[in-house]
């Protein structure tokens, strides 16, 4: 780790797990995902129904490029039916005592736990993320979110929004493809706990777990129309957020789309929360716990193939430990296992879509053209499917595209700083402000930094840790409104003074 005399020091040897002790394939069974229908309609008013249109989209397994299922491209008419079903259900649902709504949410949480293996495998197949993550991160968090908000349902009077805060009505929710079921949980759980009904549109590359969730709603006996799911691409999403009978719009996704939605609904009475892009700085000081910082950097940018809006995509490292840290980071990256998402030992799965792979490839190429130095460990990539090696860029400056634009892939840009003030300045020098990480053993510095970083989440000596009790959301172009925690109730409540 330390730079030492060349005569005795060993070169940095990646501890390749592919030497003596090679792990045999340990595949999770694709059959555990349960039956995937050849084609799906929408889930409206408690029933699966056909689309009013004839256009169908296909969802593929990004690890194999095989088509998994066809699903409906939601039309304006479909959206209208779904919103009408949600409106119809609203009166009954919102007038239930909170303790009764909680029972449904608790039931959903328990069913998610019971069916977690099925859902984890299905998510891996549809999204490309490794089963280790769906099993150990996504699904436990999905259940935790429902459990957490179930607990709030009968305590809204005491949530700090004044007496008797009221639901808004019908919530239109549009979610991304990077954590399909988890983003659904982040949206649906607080909406239902507060007494709203929802129409949710999953992403067009990952609709399957949302459609499976519809089955869970039925299994839990949720009243018809409380949760409606309409599939389709951006056109469906636009029709949904534009619908005049929607009271609340919640969107997680890219900043351009978020901006378009904000424009679209400006001047209406719809309440809006946006969780958009990020370009988080992961800041490592010279007194950091180095081995754990390396793990945190890896987890920050390579978790979920880097398809994380709060990913630590800019590593800001103090110049005095740059070489030492980068040696250790490269050694660690050499042990990352890229491949079959269903293999239990896979660390990095498939890129979600051909389009996303093209964007990552384009930005990485721009990094090289602009003069940054590219490095990636040797690793074999499967033939079919969409793959990208975990990649590191050094010599990156603030002016490079890879330091400014969200790549949303396993690509880390390394920048350096000399003093804490410079670290803050560089970290904040981005239009985004979703998250940041600080690595130091000095507690006072953590607090000093956290007060100055303009980011919705600041992690100290950890990264990409999520918990339903903790509010999550952005500054600046990363959006507004918070999800999670007590704060996550507010976007779904009318907290203005009661009209008398």
């Amino acid at each position: 780790m330390a730079k030492t005399d060349k005569k005795t020091a060993q070169p940095v040897q990646p501890a390749k797990p592919s030497g003596l002790f090679e792990y045999a394939p340990a595949p999770e069974s694709p059959a555990a995902a349960g039956e995937i229908a050849t084609s799906y309609g929408h889930f409206i008013g408690g029933r699966f129904v056909d689309s009013s249109g004839s256009e169908a989209l296909k969802t593929v397994n990004p690890a194999t490029e095989q088509v998994l299922a066809e699903f409906a491209q939601g039309t304006e008419e479909d959206v209208d039916r779904a919103v009408a079903a949600a409106r119809k259900a609203f009166a009954g649902w919102s007038s239930l005592p909170g303790s009764e709504r909680a029972k449904y949410l608790f039931r959903i949480a328990r069913i998610v736990q019971e069916r977690s293996r099925e859902l984890a495998v299905l998510e891996s197949i549809d999204n490309g993320k490794p089963i280790r993550e769906t099993r150990d991160v996504d699904l436990p968090l999905v259940a935790a979110h429902f459990f957490y908000y179930a607990g709030w349902a009968d305590k809204l009077d005491f949530a700090g929004f004044g007496p008797n805060p009221r639901p808004l009505g019908v919530a239109a929710q549009v979610i991304p493809w990077n954590f399909p079921l988890l983003m659904l949980a982040w949206k649906v759980a607080p909406a239902l706990a507060t007494g709203n009904t929802v129409v949710l549109k999953p992403a067009e590359t990952t609709p399957l777990t949302a459609l499976r969730f519809a089955e869970i709603c039925r299994q839990a006996g949720l009243p018809d129309g409380v949760v409606n799911i309409v599939t389709g691409d951006g056109r469906t999403g636009a029709a949904l957020t534009a619908h005049p009978d929607v009271n609340k719009v919640a969107f997680t996704g890219s900043t351009p789309v978020g901006r378009a939605i904000a424009k679209q609904i400006a001047g209406t009475r719809k309440k809006l929360s946006l969780e958009l892009g990020g370009k988080a700085a992961n800041i490592v000081f010279d007194d950091a716990p180095l081995d754990q910082a390396v793990e945190g950097i890896v987890n920050g940018i390579f978790f979920n193939q880097g398809h994380v809006c709060c990913a630590g995509s800019r590593l800001l490292v103090q110049e005095s430990i740059q070489d030492e840290l980068l040696d250790a980071l490269k050694r660690r990256m050499g042990t990352l296992r890229v491949g079959d998402p269903l293999d239990k030992n896979t660390d990095i799965g498939a890129i979600n879509s051909a389009a996303q792979l093209a964007r990552i490839t384009e930005l990485a190429a721009a990094g090289e053209q602009e003069g940054a130095e590219r490095w990636a460990p040797e690793c074999e990539l499967p033939g079919a499917g969409y793959w990208f090696r975990p990649t590191l860029f050094t010599g990156v400056s603030q002016a490079h595209r890879i330091a400014r634009e969200e790549i949303f892939g396993p690509v880390l840009s390394v920048l350096t700083f000399r003093t804490p003030a410079e670290a803050v300045e560089k970290a904040n020098n981005t239009p985004f402000g979703l998250s940041a990480g600080i690595w130091t053993e000095k507690g006072s510095r953590i607090l000093w930094m956290a007060n100055r970083l303009r980011a919705g989440v600041v992690w100290a000596n950890t990264f990409n840790k999520f918990d339903p009790t903790s509010p999550f959301g952005g500054y600046k172009e990363s959006g507004y409104g918070r999800e999670g925690g007590r704060h996550g109730l507010e976007p779904y409540l009318n907290v203005e003074a009661l009209d008398v």
Partner: protein
Amino acid sequence: MSTLAANAPGAPGGGLADVAASEATLRRFLHGLPGVDQVGLEARAATLGTRSIKTTAKAFAIDLAISMIDLTTLEGADTVGKVRSLCAKGLNPDPTDRTAPQVAAICVYPDMVETAKTALRGSDIQVASVATAFPSGRAGMPVKLADTAEAVAAGADEIDMVIDRGAFLSGRYLEVFEEIRAVKEACRRPDGSSAHLKVIFETGELQTYDNVRRASWLAMIAGADFIKTSTGKVAVNATPPVTLLMLEAVRDFRAATGTQVGVKPAGGIRTTKDAMKYLVMVNETLGDDWLSPHWFRFGASSLLNDLLMQRQKLRTGRYSGPDYVTVD
């Protein structure tokens, strides 16, 4: 750790000898090592613990684990008969399958070294002896050195010493350093060769991960051939995070000095599943260079039978039971 570069390589202690020039320099060095974040270390160990080791990988790992065992009996009730029977077990772990590898060493108290040596004559199995007033280490230096010398004279190939945790915890690092140096000296045989020295930290008593990292560097600079977690005699023995931290220490020590040091977790490792987790940590932290009994050991007694039962299961396809392995 850039201070390391200033030290001339090749000197005793792997080029770090002047680190121990005084209490102050030693303290400054040990306290200058990067800190350990407890949450992060434990999370990493837990993640590595989720690796799924199946079929051929499992067969390889089981045999490797058997060959890394320091099969141990350290009881007041130890007798010549008990030690002989343990040696027989180490030589032929599975009487129904002679392809099962032998263990690495038999680990006993000093007065049983001769018995073990005799029983293992002609084999490659090493005899390891605990020493230095094991397990507490609460005795004067002359007693500790005599304890060590007696074990070496009786033929011990390896000495497992304990550090003075009291001295370490009260910050008298140089005293611990000099003690290890002296015991290392006592490991010398008349013919100039030396018994291998394993230094036991009793990590359950050192408590913090920062202490474990400091103890690791202290022992390696003082000349330890192996660093070992525990005696097996206290409430908390080897754990995956502590062992991972020690693996990182030997990795960094080799990078800094060129000297390779072994690691031995001991106590509480009882199942094949546990052993697999440790081997995965070695594999992904250190790689091939440490995947041999020369550089990694398990201090264990009941682990062997569980490995043998899993081995039988892999070979025959049927689950084995405790009556199909020998109790020694």
